[in-house]
């Protein structure tokens, strides 16, 4: 089974996927187990019957529910472990917003929220009117400016709508870092290539939810196939919720949606 998949993808030039299925991405022990022998329950219905390197007939979206996030930082910890993210770089982070009764907005994200927000801010002169947390990650734009600018095609959009980076092609010119309106990209000092959140493509491909979604204790992060009418994400996006995307004026058409997005959030 594994061999069959591997020979199929070897025709594909995308080294990343090869790596994923070969199980060389850190932390994903599951990947070395042959697909049939997996005893972890499928979290995304219908994924394990999928053949070929790309996922067919599905359209994935990510939803962050700002009204639920408690700023515990579990997602950031899970992400850092899953990808061995070097210190000072962030594939995902959580921002804290504090609004005082003079309508001043204070935002911070010390260490990307990795340590959680355990202490309140003490430097705010007026009484606090409101406070909330906003997790950030790659928006998996439908019109990704990072893909547009990459001179060697190392950043690419897969047929199934993911935006990924081919570590074997990236020359680390940083043009994509400049072009991403959301600052989710960085140059990984270990690999000397561009890096960013992948929505855990390697896990999704095996029917598992992204690591951060998996660990969120309050289900503030949701992931699923919007073509599946039974999925939670379908219901959220098709029922009257306050849903929005970041920087819509950029024209990037994010597939990352926010429930309860506040106007203060950039």
């Amino acid at each position: 089974m594994m061999d069959a998949i591997q020979s199929e993808i070897s025709r594909d030039r995308r080294a990343f996927i090869k790596k994923v299925l070969g199980g060389t991405i850190a932390g994903s022990l599951l990947l070395v187990i042959p697909a049939g022998a997996m005893d972890v329950p499928e979290q995304i219905p219908g994924m394990r019957e999928q053949e070929g390197p790309f996922i067919k007939g599905k359209k994935f979206v990510f939803i962050v529910d700002i009204t639920r996030c408690i700023g515990c930082g579990s997602c950031c910890v899970a992400d850092k472990n899953e990808y061995q993210v070097p210190d000072g770089n962030y594939r995902t982070w959580v921002e804290r917003y504090v609004i005082d009764d003079h309508d001043n907005v204070y935002v911070d994200s010390p260490n990307g929220g990795l340590d959680g927000y355990q202490k309140p801010r003490t430097d705010i002169p007026h009484p606090v009117r409101d406070t909330f947390f906003v997790p950030k990650l790659c928006n998996m734009c439908e019109k990704p400016s990072c893909v547009q600018v990459c001179p060697v095609g190392a950043t690419y959009q897969t047929k199934d709508g993911f935006v990924l980076i081919d570590q074997k092609r990236c020359v680390a010119c940083s043009y994509c870092v400049q072009a991403c309106p959301y600052s989710v990209r960085f140059i990984n000092p270990k690999t000397k290539t561009a890096d960013k959140c992948t929505w855990c493509y390697h896990r999704v491909r095996k029917g598992l939810l992204p690591a951060c979604v998996n660990v969120c204790p309050v289900q503030a992060r949701k992931f699923g196939d919007v073509n599946d009418r039974n999925s939670e994400v379908y219901k959220i996006l098709h029922q009257p919720h306050v849903v929005s995307v970041l920087k819509p004026g950029m024209g990037n058409k994010p597939s990352l949606h926010y429930v309860g997005l506040r106007r203060e959030v950039v």
Partner: protein
């Protein structure tokens, strides 16, 4: 000190966590600076070869070789910047057609070919004469450079002349494309409100002309000084006239760009405003605008509107040119680094100071800026820059041509 992205030394307000790295550092400041000098020096030579500005004859050939020396180093800062320079050639082998950056290799190479061909044709008669005088290794060099031809008949020289005019004519749009394109690499980044303006290519192009002319003035006067030869003042006065003209355009557009942003006052302006009056205050307002634009502008105006004496020209010309060279460097700094200081959070900016010994630090930058001068020196051993040193010119002058 991992050398791929320099880490900011501090932040004001809230910057996105990944924005604490300045990814395009000093090297990317030098890249448009060097290509700008190349394009500008070429324009100087074209003023003579295409637009027949006779007064520029003494420096017309020199400008081309000067351009070549800088062109030879234009890719160095880029290669030093890349995390995987060994893959750089893939930009030409497997370019992504949608990328504004992917065209650089092609545009650069095409321009280099035109420039080298123009130099070889202009120098061909000289190289033929030098070949006859040379022995050993240099003879081989001249043989290769004169394209194996030693036909100096008037018919063949006439053909040369036609080819030179064609190449010089072709070179003008190419020099414009080369540098306008570099401006577009920045101007096309919609995520950065400071860069994303259609004026960016125009500003880059005009500042390129300015830096090229200023560079030629400084280099020419400096070389004449150490050679103990008189400078051609008519030539310098003409250069200063063009410098003035281009600088007026350049400075006007730079200010217009800022003024338009301020006047339209979109929400981006609020972030830009913080930047210009915050981290960029000294390098933009005080240095780039106040000292190195306004003062040279008045000096140039004074030099062009009043008939000033030769001694004063000899003193002011290099001073004002050096100031302008510095102005353009500051402009590159303020655009490239300045643009990155503003976080995409629109709520904060970072503070950045280049370090001396980093991979993309000040010392490597100095080395890269000195290299073209070393190459220029080596080229001077092959191509006589000045008519006085040229055996072909002096020979034909002696024979009364």
């Amino acid at each position: 000190m991992h050398g791929l992205a320099e880490t900011a030394t501090g932040a004001i307000g809230y910057a996105f966590p990944n924005d604490l790295h300045v990814h395009w550092s000093l090297m990317i400041v030098l890249y448009p600076y060097i290509t700008g000098i190349v394009a500008g020096a070429f324009i100087v030579s074209s003023l003579y070869h295409v637009f027949h500005v006779k007064a520029l004859k003494p420096i017309a050939r020199f400008s081309l070789v000067f351009a070549l020396a800088f062109l030879a180093c234009a890719t160095l800062p880029l290669l030093n910047h890349l995390g995987h320079p060994e893959r750089a050639f893939n930009m030409m082998l497997t370019p992504s057609p949608t990328s504004a950056m992917a065209g650089f290799g092609y545009i650069y190479s095409a321009y280099a070919i035109v420039l080298i061909l123009e130099i070889l044709f202009i120098y061909r008669p000289t190289l033929v004469v030098l070949k006859d005088q040379a022995t050993g290794f240099m003879r081989t060099v001249y043989n290769v450079l004169s394209i194996g031809s030693d036909n100096l008949s008037s018919r063949s020289l006439h053909l040369d002349h036609k080819i030179i005019s064609f190449l010089a004519g072709l070179g003008i749009p190419m020099a414009c494309v080369l540098h306008g394109y570099v401006g577009f690499i920045f101007g096309g980044v919609k995520a950065n409100p400071m860069w994303a303006t259609p004026l960016m290519p125009v500003i880059f192009l005009l500042s390129a002309c300015v830096s090229g002319i200023a560079g030629i003035i400084v280099a020419y006067m400096f070389i004449m000084k150490i050679k103990g030869r008189p400078v051609d003042l008519e030539c310098i006065r003409t250069c200063i006239k063009y410098l003035w003209g281009f600088f007026i355009l350049d400075f006007t557009f730079e200010m217009l760009e800022l003024f338009s942003h301020a006047y339209m006052a979109t929400h981006h302006w609020h972030a830009l405003h913080e930047l210009y009056w915050g981290p960029l205050y000294i390098s933009f307002w005080v240095l780039q605008v106040g000292i190195f634009s306004v003062i040279p502008f008045f000096i140039l105006t004074f030099m062009n509107l009043f008939r000033i004496g030769d001694g004063l020209v000899k003193f002011l010309a290099p001073v004002v040119s050096l100031m302008i060279l510095f102005q353009v460097l500051l402009m590159r700094w303020n655009v490239v680094i300045g643009g990155q200081l503003m976080s995409k959070s629109e709520r904060g900016s970072v503070i950045f100071q280049p370090q001396w010994l980093e991979k993309e630090g000040i010392l490597p930058a100095i080395i890269i800026m000195v290299l073209p001068l070393v190459i220029l020196y080596i080229l001077s051993k092959v191509f006589p820059f000045w008519q006085e040193d040229d055996p072909y010119v002096s020979g034909s002058a002696a024979s009364g041509e």
